[in-house]
Amino acid sequence: MLKFDSLQVSATKKPVSDEQILELLRSDNTFERGFRLLMSQYRERLYWHIRRLVLVHEDADDVLQNTFIKIYRGILQFEGKSKLYTWLYRIATNESITYLQGKARHASASLDDETVLQTNRLQADEWFDGDEVQVKLQQSIARLPDKQRLVFNLRYFDEMPYEEMAVLLDTSVGALKASFHHAVKKIEAVFKETDH
């Protein structure tokens, strides 16, 4: 399982600092090199963040490419008020939600219903070979309210610290902890229910 921290450590290429990337992006001459570095630095983290939200690889690929296109167009507007990856995560999160909303609109369903439908698609995804327990986990996560699902994914899969999550979601650490605890309890309840 890919984790938020392990990705930084396991990166095969020499890690480049955000400041170095931004410096390259500031000049027309080095913009493309900087953008390629940004992609190689963040592509896996962003992919897995998106994949947990949209579940199916094909959709995650679409959303990730859209995310990088948005980043390409808007990177010069990045003012450096937050960390670069926080800004990137925000774009990826918005793109994922917009993508799911678009699919839900197309199917005349709500966003929550669409997320549940995505778990059915996940089982048919050739890039998913999880067992029954993993399918159940994904179904339980899909039933969570939007915000709670997002908090659960960021904490459980990406292992993002609450402090960084608070900046990303513009919420207090206390509210995020409460949200995560509620989510965990709901998921556990689903497992207990089906175990009996």
């Binding site: 493309e32 990088f68 890039w127 993993q134 965990v184």
Partner: protein, 177 residues
């Protein structure tokens, strides 16, 4: 440290989820997916026409002089020159349109009066103006003042009159005047 704190948090909250976290979640990506991603994104940007066109490489390799002497750059500069020249001709003032140079001098008294009338007196009637004109004509055609008729001096030559006037006393002169 962060990982430990999550593990601790999960252990306390839900042992089930804590155990699940140690297992593979079953999500995979195609072989070489991440390596091909960069080119896919840049190709999409090309297709959309939003990819930045960088000239940096060619400028660095050959220097600015070499870049300036490229046929495309020369053609562009020539076109720009023609456009500037045409625009200059097009917008240049024609002789008819040249305005005479106005020399500001001290206005004469007449000009000041005329300006005063134009600014302050605007209720002249046509009849009034016509009346003024008539009076002026009358002044012009009025008969000249007749020479002084002095009794007893008829038939004398001017020299004789002058001599006579010199010999007259002040009282006599006053009585004539």
């Amino acid at each position: 440290m962060k990982q430990e704190s999550l593990q601790e948090e999960l252990k306390g909250l839900s042992p089930k989820l804590h155990d699940l976290k140690q297992q593979n979640d079953g999500m995979r990506v195609p072989e070489g997916y991440f390596d091909a991603l960069e080119d896919s994104v840049l190709t999409r940007l090309d297709t959309m026409g939003t990819r930045r066109q960088t000239i940096a490489g060619s400028v660095k390799r050959n220097g600015i002089r070499a870049w300036l002497f490229r046929p495309q750059v020369i053609a562009a500069l020539a076109a720009l020159f023609v456009v500037v020249l045409t625009a200059k001709r097009f917008f240049a003032p024609t002789p008819a349109a040249v305005q005479p140079v106005v020399v500001h001098t001290q206005p004469s008294e007449e000009e000041l009066i005329e300006a005063y009338i134009l600014q302050n007196i605007s209720d002249f009637e046509v009849d009034q103006l016509a009346a003024v004109a008539k009076d002026r004509e009358a002044e012009v055609v009025a008969p000249p003042v007749t020479p002084l008729q002095t009794p007893g001096l008829e038939g004398l030559s001017p020299e004789a009159i002058e001599l006579l006037l010199r010999e007259m006393s002040d009282e006599e002169l006053e009585s004539i005047l």
